[in-house]
């Protein structure tokens, strides 16, 4: 349905997106993962015909959209990372305006508005001014506007940033439902692994403008097949212990949180006894040491040596 071919965007000397290749088939939910500044939003701007790429092509149903974006625009809904709504208008007025932009009118527009308001759960707040909405409600309306014209493809750029878990679950469920019930194709961008794991069939991972991994969830996790992830928990981690682990030659990657250290080692290495001895030396009381099933977070750590969220 949508295909990116060596898509590149350069701002001055800096590549925001470099040689990105990607495809989306009808009915899929695709995840696009990457930390801040990875180039996700820039890629989305290009594939939604807002920004012209420096090089490469975007093909929609095998036609380049660079010169003729109309076909893509007609059937695509874009949920921007920013809340792109008129704060001084009501939800209804916002929907009405954007509906008219999409050339909906009369009874058809009214029907679509009702449907969307129902879907995003804002039916009883439709007459309220957006300014007075909570962050989660604004996010939902931001999505709602992109659904007005009943798109075949929706591209969502971090639609759950900065909102409460309840609204977030609501949004995730809604996306899943849209895909299941109406066969809407979804490109979902996030830096939350859990969201992508929950929603997506296939995943692309970007970092610093480059694609660093892609495939199904299992494909990606298989990247880690040569390694295993060990989680070390303690009530009070101390510097001496962390330093020792960091300097240990067998540890490939390390991620330190408040009460937990995650490390990766080669599959065949047995490091348990060493860890326990190191803890004793650093007079640290461990609460648990366990092998974890790898997550996408771990894949990212493996590939870049950095955590996805800093």
């Amino acid at each position: 349905m949508l295909e990116l071919v060596d898509l590149t965007k350069r701002f001055k000397q800096q590549y925001a997106v470099k040689n990105l290749n990607m495809f989306i088939e009808k009915g899929e939910i695709i995840g696009l993962l990457g930390p801040n500044g990875a180039g996700k939003s820039t890629a989305i701007s290009m594939m939604s015909s807002l920004v012209e790429p420096t090089a490469g092509d975007v093909r929609f149903n095998n036609n380049s959209i660079l010169k003729k974006p109309a076909q893509l625009r007609k059937v695509t809904g874009i949920v921007p990372q920013e809340i792109a709504l008129y704060n001084d208008l009501t939800a209804e007025e916002n929907l009405q305006f954007f509906g008219r932009i999409y050339r909906l009118k009369g009874a058809e527009l009214k029907r679509r508005m009702d449907e969307v308001l129902d879907l995003i759960g804002l039916k009883d707040r439709r007459k309220d001014i957006v300014k007075k909405y909570s962050g989660g409600m604004k996010r939902r309306l931001n999505i709602g506007v992109a659904l007005l014209h009943d798109p075949e493809l929706i591209i969502m750029d971090e639609p759950t940033v900065g909102i409460d878990p309840q609204s977030r679950n609501y949004i995730l469920e809604t996306v899943k439902r849209l895909n299941a019930e109406r066969n809407i194709t979804v490109l979902y961008t996030s830096h939350y692994m859990e969201e992508v794991e929950f929603l997506c069939d296939r995943i692309y991972i970007m970092d610093k403008g480059n694609l660093i991994a892609s495939g199904t969830k299992d494909d990606i996790k298989r990247i880690l097949s040569a390694e295993k992830t060990i989680s070390i928990k303690a009530d009070r981690l101390n510097e001496a212990f962390i330093k020792e682990i960091k300097e240990h030659p067998l540890v490939n990657n390390i991620q330190v949180e408040e009460k937990e250290i995650t490390i990766m080692v080669a599959k065949e290495v047995n490091i348990f006894s060493t860890l326990i001895k190191m803890a004793e030396d650093a007079s640290l009381e461990l609460s648990s040491v366990a092998i974890k099933t790898p997550t996408l977070e771990d894949v990212f750590l493996h590939l870049t040596g950095r955590a996805l969220r800093d």
Binding site: Y86, D88, R100, Y102
Partner: protein, 417 residues
């Protein structure tokens, strides 16, 4: 499509009642303040000049007229009609001149008894004192009608600290004297005064329609001055609303909705024009109703307003295009913060800056508000459309130039991020 943009723009304006009130309330308040405070400095408005005049009569005039009529029972068989005598009674004439409609607001006439003469002369609030001696009218009539005796004299005391006011009184008296001299000359030569009276009346009327026409009051002047200035804020407001659409990424949504950016551009242009017209309309209507600033030629008014709105719309799209291009609202803020005030000053919104210098006047007419102001003032004075055609042409060309520059500055496809 374009209609949607304009409708939404109107909705956004209405949703900011404070800003809206400021946009419309500001000019009205300024008209009130400037119209009252600076009104006295303006030409064509006499309310600044106040003359307080004391009249001291030693003997009532009608008594003298009766005495005069009684004393001319026989002389030389000249027939003298009572009405003729009353008609030329000098003090009566003077009083009716001093209290006629045009001078009523300016000259405050107090008839004061002789006993208070010294008090009045010492009172600094009086501009002048006219003392009419005993038998003045009697002597005047004898001298004028029969050429008997000496020409009687009025005594005028002037307050040296109020020279302008005193000068007005002096020239009034001199005028009156000239007219009497002329009248008696005509009488001597037996020319029919009636003929001349008609001629003078004609002359007077003509003069009015050539020079004064409708004098522009200070309220009228500032209604125009403030309207043409504050309508520029409408352009700035439309510009910053449009930039807000870019800032909050709504513009991107509009583009993704497959609306041409030129449709959007046209929507902004028309919004500027329509809201500019509305703004002018509201202020002019308000001034009409409350200050009585009425327009003799509605067609000309509409024509200038339309031409002016092209300039306003042009400024709105130019501000929009530049702020889109620079990703910053600085230009719009600079425009409404500084440029508008400067242009308003140049254009004569605060006081008729160009009255004393043709150079400044020309310069002022090269600002859209200045050109608009000149045109509106001409209409208010009663000029016809041909007198303002150059202003109208300038406004249209100015607007077109703004639109062209804006169109070439506005980000093209694929440039917006």
């Amino acid at each position: 499509m374009i209609g949607q943009i304009i409708k939404k723009q109107a909705l956004l304006l209405i949703r900011n009642p404070v800003q809206l009130l400021l946009l419309i309330g500001l000019p009205i308040i300024l008209i009130l303040i400037l119209g009252n405070a600076l009104g006295s400095m303006m030409n064509g408005d006499s309310s600044g000049l106040k003359v307080k005049l004391a009249l001291i009569e030693h003997q009532p005039e009608n008594e003298q007229v009766e005495n005069f009529l009684a004393s001319i029972d026989n002389p030389k068989g000249t027939k003298v009609e009572q009405s003729d005598v009353t008609n030329i009674a000098p003090i009566q004439t003077l009083k009716s001149i001093l209290t006629n409609d045009e001078l009523k607001g300016v000259i405050d006439v107090r008839e004061v008894p002789f006993s208070e003469k010294q008090a009045v002369l010492d009172d600094n609030t009086y501009t002048a004192v006219i003392e009419i001696p005993r038998k003045f009218t009697h002597d005047f009539l004898s001298y004028t009608i029969f050429g008997e005796g000496n020409k009687p004299k009025l005594q005028l005391y002037e307050n040296e600290q109020q020279q302008i006011g005193a000068g007005v009184i002096r020239s009034l008296l001199e005028d009156l004297q000239r007219q009497y001299t002329l009248a008696s000359f005509l009488q001597e030569k037996e020319i029919d005064q009636q003929v001349l009276a008609v001629e003078t009346a004609l002359l007077n009327n003509n003069q009015q329609s050539i020079n004064q026409k409708n004098p522009v009051t200070s309220k009228g002047y500032y209604t125009i001055g403030m309207a043409v200035m504050t309508v520029l804020y409408i352009a700035a407001t439309i510009g910053s609303l449009a930039f807000m659409e870019k800032r909050i990424f709504v513009f991107n949504r509009i583009i993704i909705g497959n609306m041409s950016r030129w449709v959007y551009f046209t929507g902004i242009l028309l919004s500027g024009m329509i809201f500019g017209c509305l703004h002018l309309g509201i202020i002019f209507s308000f001034a009409w109703i409350t200050f009585g600033v009425s327009w003799p030629n509605i067609m000309a008014l509409l024509l200038v307003t339309f031409a002016f709105s092209i300039a306003v719309g042009g400024i709105a799209v130019l501000l929009t295009a530049i702020s889109y291009r620079l990703h910053s609202e600085t230009v719009t803020n600079f425009f409404s913060g500084i440029v508008v005030s400067l242009m308003a000053l140049m254009g004569g919104s605060f006081y008729p800056i160009g009255d004393n210098s043709t150079f400044i006047q020309t310069l002022g007419n090269l600002t859209p508000n200045g050109a608009g102001m000149s045109a509106y003032l001409s209409i208010l004075r009663g000029d016809n459309i041909s007198a303002i055609s150059s202003n109208i042409l300038f406004l249209c060309l100015f607007g077109m130039a703004m639109i062209l520059i804006a169109a070439s500055t506005f980000p093209k496809r694929g440039e917006a991020v």
